[in-house]
């Protein structure tokens, strides 16, 4: 059974700059600036490929990065809650 499907705005809606291991993001639709720490930017990158649930996001991240073998989706889900709370992702 899959979880909620999330989506992010198009790449054009967000300006991002890496600063010293963290990422500063300007989200044009809200005019707000956020500083995000890994794995949040990687989750946004994964959603750049299209909407997905936590499991799909985990899988896309695993294609690009070396992650713990038995990584479950709890961390991803917690990050999705945070990102949803600030308007960077929403449920599709």
């Amino acid at each position: 059974m899959s979880g909620a499907i999330y989506m992010a705005d198009d790449a054009g809606a967000v300006r991002s700059v890496e600063l010293d291991g963290l990422v500063a993001l300007f989200h044009a639709p809200s005019g707000m600036t956020h500083i995000v720490a890994p794995p949040a930017p990687q989750i946004l990158e994964a959603l750049g490929q299209g909407p997905g649930d936590a499991r799909a996001i985990l899988s896309r991240i695993a294609d690009l990065y070396e992650i713990e073998e038995d990584a479950g989706t709890e961390a991803i889900e917690a990050r999705l809650d945070e990102l949803e709370a600030v308007g960077l992702v929403r449920r599709a």
């Binding site: 790449a11 300006r15 991002s16 700059v17 890496e18 990422v23 707000m32 600036t33 956020h34 500083i35 995000v36 720490a37 890994p38 794995p39 949040a40 930017p41 990687q42 990158e45 750049g48 991240i61 690009l64 990065y65 070396e66 992650i67 713990e68 990584a71 709890e74 961390a75 991803i76 889900e77 917690a78 990050r79 945070e82 990102l83 709370a85 600030v86 960077l88």
Partner: protein
């Protein structure tokens, strides 16, 4: 146009190399949102004061918990004899003592009144400017 590091590429590692990524604990928090600093900075360039209570109180007195009550209500305090300055309020809210000319019990009631200030009430901008976290 000023250059920073690439802004068109995703701000992330080169996708051709698999870098190690720790997913972190679920309980961690990874997003900080920038809040406007206007009230704080403008408040520091212009001294402000807070009337206790504000002019909209219509002669009411202040209960120990900072709410407005009818004058003469037992345990209530008369309005402050003069508006309190931002500096005085900052000290008072930190537990640093009553401003000159004001006894400590009244000061407690005034502090609670100030903590209950809402946007649109007299003194709110001053109070907000003292509260913005650094």
């Amino acid at each position: 146009m000023s250059d920073g590091p690439d802004q068109d590429k995703g701000a992330l590692a080169n996708p051709n190399r698999r870098m190690v990524l720790a997913l972190g604990a679920a309980a961690a928090s990874t997003v900080v949102t920038i809040r406007p600093a206007l009230a704080q900075t403008a408040g520091s360039v212009l001294n402000c004061e807070i009337p206790v209570p504000g002019p909209q109180a219509g002669g009411n007195h202040i209960a120990a918990d900072g709410t407005l009550v009818a004058p003469g209500t037992p345990g209530s305090y008369a309005p402050a004899p003069r508006p309190l300055t931002g500096e005085e309020v900052k000290v008072m809210l930190r537990g640093g003592g009553a401003p000159p000319g004001i006894d400590s019990e009244s000061a407690q009631a005034y502090a609670n009144y100030i903590r209950r200030l809402q946007s649109g009430m007299s003194g709110f901008t001053c109070y907000a400017s003292l509260q913005m976290p650094r």
